[in-house]
């Protein structure tokens, strides 16, 4: 009864199925794209319920115990430098070759997956900028602007509320003339934004709230302004 199984998505997201029901639903999930999509959004909603609880902080020993047990299971190789920067570049290079070779196939990838991959790509780009030996950091209370010698820059903002529906944050680089678009972004606990365009010494990075998709010139007063 496949139609009945669709209806189990909410119960599964809440962990409210018996082990047998859960197994049956998981088998169905492998065949049903609609349920996979629905489960993703139901799981976010169910996960939010975790935040509605309040109570004491966990005992400090718990952290140490988890880390010790993790190490016992799978000792890691001590990273003496940020070893993930080089592999990321290598992976990106391989991915680029594969993408060229399989261009047609790549074009069929879902937009959603693309977007997630781009988001991770942004993180990696920011990581590379932060790890560059020549980078300068300009702190501004709510975050930091990091600029490499060649002018590549990343903005890191902490605890930024999600923009209202239909709105986006947009970054601008101003070097005296009209501010140039430097990318749009949303809110979050730690927001990392690799800026498009280069930031020369003395240039300012501004952030405004604009309509979704961004605009060509700022229409609002910047609520954030950092001089490099």
């Amino acid at each position: 009864m496949e139609t009945d199984l669709h209806d189990l998505t909410a119960a599964y997201a809440l962990d409210a199925l018996s082990p047998e029901e859960a197994r049956e639903y998981e088998a169905h999930l492998a065949r049903c794209e609609r349920c996979r999509a629905e489960l993703a959004s139901f799981s976010e909603a169910a996960g939010a319920l975790a935040y509605a609880t309040e109570g004491p902080a966990p005992p400090p020993e718990l952290r140490a115990r988890i880390l010790q047990q993790a190490q016992r299971e799978r000792p890691n190789v001590a990273p003496l430098r940020p070893r993930w920067v080089a592999p990321v570049a290598a992976v990106a290079a391989v991915a680029a070759c594969v993408a060229v070779g399989l261009g047609i196939w790549a074009a069929t990838l879902s937009n959603k997956l693309d977007r997630r991959t781009q988001e991770l790509g942004r993180e990696e780009k920011v990581a590379a900028i932060l790890a560059a030996p020549s980078s300068r950091s300009i702190s501004f209370g709510r975050g930091v602007l990091v600029v490499t010698k060649s002018g590549e820059a990343a903005l890191v903002v902490n605890h930024l509320r999600q923009p209202a529906q239909g709105k986006t944050y947009e970054a601008w680089i101003s070097s005296g003339g009209a501010p140039k678009r430097a990318g749009t972004f949303g809110g979050g606990k730690v927001v990392t934004v690799p800026l498009e365009g280069s930031v020369r010494p003395g240039a300012s990075v501004l952030v405004t709230v604009e309509r979704s998709g961004g605009v060509d010139a700022p229409t609002q007063k910047p609520f954030l302004s950092v001089q490099s």
Partner: protein
């Protein structure tokens, strides 16, 4: 604990998803970072379900170790990293509470125990999230809220709930479905759009 003498690493600029990607590469510091970001919420959740500190610690530990073992299978296009991790912890907590039949009763109402101390910044963020989700929960019809709370915090299966509430399983299923769909909608709503200003949450 091992030491990393050469360079203290900072994860502050990395998203939760990027931290999980590092955990998948057996990076223990990344696991510590993940714990620092979600340990508190995870413990609060486990304690709400299990109502026993020792068992709650077990659920959190097993959940984080499951993350450590399975991080390479995590798919960012399927779920946010936080959701994925809290699902692992919740599943362990529910498994444990189902084994502890004697503890099964009404899930506690909102704990009266105040959360003390902790860093001001984390507290502010957590408080913001907590108030947002609690407000959304309050807007649900009572029967839907009851079904969600008994299932998620009480660890009851849909069949147990049906029996407990004297309703057909189909009714319980619909309440959970409608309740979760409505909660999803409420959580997606921006708060107070007309007066909305960009603000920091701390």
């Amino acid at each position: 604990m091992r030491e990393y003498p050469a360079m203290p690493r900072s994860f502050a600029h990395l998203s939760d998803e990027a931290v999980v990607a590092l955990v998948a590469r057996s990076d223990q510091e990344a696991l510590a970072e993940l714990y620092d970001r979600f340990g508190r919420v995870a413990y609060g959740l486990a304690l709400r379900v299990l109502r026993d500190e020792k068992l709650a610690e077990d659920a959190v530990q097993e959940g984080f170790l499951a993350a450590w073992r399975n991080a390479e299978r995590y798919m960012p296009e399927r779920a946010k990293a936080g959701t994925w991790l809290l699902t692992l912890v919740h599943r362990r907590a529910v498994d444990l509470v189902r084994r502890e039949e004697s503890r099964r009763a009404e899930p506690l109402p909102e704990s009266a125990e105040p959360a003390p101390q902790d860093s001001a910044e984390d507290d502010a963020w957590l408080r913001f999230e907590r108030e947002r989700v609690q407000a959304a929960l309050r807007k649900l019809p009572d029967q839907q809220r009851e079904a969600l709370e008994l299932a998620y915090y009480g660890g009851f299966t849909q069949s147990e709930l049906a029996e407990r509430l004297g309703q057909p399983v189909g009714t319980i299923k619909s309440r959970m479905f409608a309740g979760l769909a409505r909660l999803r909608e409420l959580l997606a709503e921006p708060n107070g759009e007309s007066t909305w200003k960009p603000t920091f949450t701390t």
